[in-house]
Amino acid sequence: MNFDFSDDQKVLRDQARKFLGQHAAPARVRKVLEGDAPYDVELWRGMAEQGWPGTAIPESYGGAGFGYLELCVIAEELGRSLAPTPFASSIYLAAEALLLAGSDAQKKAWLPKLAMGETIGCFAFAEGPGTPTAKSIATRARDGRISGTKMPVPDGDVADLAVVVARTSEGAGDDALSLFLVDLRANGVTRTSVKTVDPTRSHGRVVFDGAPAEPLGATGAGAALVRKLLDRAAVLVAFEQVGGAQAALDMAREYAMGRFAFGRPIASFQAIKHKLVDMYVALELARSNAYYGAWALSTNAAELPVAAAAARVSATEAFWLAAKENIQTHGGMGFTWEFDCHLYYRRAKLLALQLGSARRWKHELMARLTKAA
């Protein structure tokens, strides 16, 4: 039994924590929150110098060729620090989509640049409120051209490359969708930034008007590929959520220890203690579910679809609970702009939606569990 990260992976975690402690401290995150820059370019460059984007990309495509466990370790630290960079879009989604479905030529063309952090990738799926499905997606691709509007697209306003989910036939069946690679710098692409609940992560509205689009994977395989892609990303984002939840719990704990009321630290009141314990319990359950997801992802196990959905639901709930109760623990100061509580609160809600809501993942989970039986 060895259900834990290795010593080498823990060294990597410590290095990542130290690096992000220096280069992605809350004051830096706040600069993106309050400034015009869509992300922290300097931090992104620094992360690329550390080689993080290429962690799980094979050496033959310019990556470091470690593995997904190492990527999970980094993801947890990115979540803890709230690092304002396009890492998730570029690596968990764009690079993963290429690894899943790309031809050798496509991988050779894009993965080395993604691994170096020179190119930023994104995943364009949603088309406004509601769940994007084969029934609802209107973006249409035919004869190498794509047209339609994607919104919101995480990092869509800053990315160079998009993996786009588009319709290739009429009808509402899963085989109506396909994936495409679109160079966002090409003609026929118009992009604007979109304001979201978490300005520390950049989002765009991307309008395609006959832009050149290259099929990624087989025509009609889009829905199946999206499911696989989201499962893989869900495990990685679960680690970000676990990291964020831990940071919010740590922050609440520290404040409660130092805040005196009625002649004693508020951390000595059971109402506060039990609140923090509820956060801790949810976090540990989420951490354990995320570990199992990491195992399934790193071994490409048949259990991955169930493991990923459980990790996603568990981590989403843990981060949300920790982030909202962190504000309550702080009392009035907790909902001021000045205190950092809202940074975690915003990120918790953003990550809860970014790969689809917990409600949707619960239904996915049940579909997978009852199909297997």
Partner: protein
């Protein structure tokens, strides 16, 4: 990251499997218990099974060899428990004695006592019970009032204990008493072991809301205990009691009773207004919530096993197990009954689905949220020991016990 046994662990597991295949009976249904299968024969058969288990070296796996144990590792104990769970095995007879009381004897008894008592307990020849809680001392155990007064080389005990599991079949017990009411609460306690057949002991069964009787009230009237059976110093009983209770947390295993898979079975087989319950979106969401928590606990146990496998002491993550599982068992049982709608009221095992396992669980689960630490006490423990939050302000610390206010009865 992997789930495979080490070479030594695999060898131990296969030895355990081989012994169980030969010596234990497979379960006929998921919830069949030893007591239900063997009825009046349950106790003698339990003792027989325990003797054979001890002779094969699978009882007292982590105990020192000189007291009859195997001298094995904590991970071997976990592996044994996993394998034995597949079979019908006696539960509730020996765990308290072997898991909580004997480790206390190892820490506090004389060499002669350590050679006399643990081997017999291990073989199931002698059963032990733990006389701790009192009507006025539950979560606040140190508020206990059973008096011990020194008389020559004996102590004379008067008072009442409650919630004593298995006292009615126990040969020996350990008891925490108040030897000095003038000392502060935690400082006036003394700990003994005693023969449960001693004159002056009266045992009354407690009937629980489920109808079962797993616990007793035990009354002490001028019961004499030789001073040689004192464990720890006079006035040092609290520290000894903590030793026993620390081992309780290692002993408390998985809860028995219907779990998520059984709830899924009910959802599959029960028709609601729009078809099978399992097709209902609301039902599916709740099933998903409980599945995720159940899996979270399962993988948490694997993290604990990993620490044990490395010879480390498991971290605090183990402490969340009962807190989450007990409340969830209650919620799932109540929900299963809801799915059965009006028919869910029926608790006759001949008429209710799964032999009324969920109806039984609704009545037994409140106890799981209290035994071995209430939800609230467990949260306090996690808050203070894991999160390092300050202890509550105490009004009972530097006051003589006799001067503390008490409940009106």
């Amino acid at each position: 990251m992997d789930f495979t046994d080490t070479k030594d662990e695999a060898a131990f597991r296969s030895a355990a499997r081989a012994w169980l295949a030969k010596n234990a009976e497979p379960k006929r249904g998921a919830f069949e218990t030893w007591d239900a299968r063997y009825g009046d024969e349950a106790l003698p058969r339990a003792k027989d099974y325990q003797r054979r288990k001890a002779e094969a070296g699978f009882a007292g796996i982590t105990w020192p060899k000189e007291y009859g144990g195997r001298g094995g590792t904590a991970i071997e104990q976990v592996i044994w428990s996993q394998e034995e769970l597949e079979y019908i095995a006696p539960r509730g007879y020996f765990e308290i004695g072997l898991g909580m009381i004997m480790p206390t004897l190892f820490a506090y008894a004389t060499e002669e006592q350590k050679r006399r008592y643990p081997p017999k307990a291990l073989r199931g020849d002698e059963i032990w019970c733990q006389l701790f809680s009192e009507p006025a001392a539950g979560s606040d155990l140190a508020g206990l009032r059973t008096r011990a007064v020194k008389d020559g080389s004996d102590w004379v005990i008067n008072g009442q204990k409650i919630w004593t599991s298995g006292a009615h079949r126990a040969d020996y017990g350990v008891v925490v008493t108040r030897s000095d009411p003038n000392a502060a609460k935690h400082k006036g306690l003394t700990y003994f072991f005693l023969d449960m057949k001693s004159p002056g002991i009266e045992i009354r069964r407690i009937k629980q809301i489920s109808g079962a009787s797993n616990f007793n009230e035990v009354y002490f009237t001028d019961v004499r205990i030789p001073d040689s059976q004192r464990l720890g110093a006079v006035g040092g009983g609290w520290g000894v009691a903590i030793t026993t209770l620390m081992n309780e947390r290692l002993t408390s295993g998985e809860l028995r009773g219907p779990d998520w898979d059984e709830l899924l079975g009910i959802a599959r087989s029960t028709e609601l207004e729009d078809g099978p319950a399992l097709a209902d979106a609301g039902v599916r969401e709740r099933l998903a919530d409980w599945y995720v928590k159940r899996q979270g606990l399962r993988w948490t146990r694997f993290r604990v096993m990993t620490a044990l496998s490395r010879g480390e002491t498991p971290g605090p993550e183990n402490s969340i197990g009962k807190l989450v599982a007990a409340a969830q068992a209650q919620d799932m049982a109540a929900f299963a009954m809801d799915l059965m709608d009006m028919g869910g009221m029926v608790s006759d095992p001949e008429l209710a689905p799964m032999r009324a396992a969920f109806q039984d669980a609704v009545l037994s689960s409140p106890g799981s949220r209290i035994a071995a630490g209430t939800d609230e006490i467990l949260k306090n423990i996690i808050a203070e020991r894991v999160l390092g939050l300050p202890a509550d302000v105490r009004v009972d610390k530097d006051v003589a016990f006799k001067d503390l206010p008490a409940s009106k009865r």
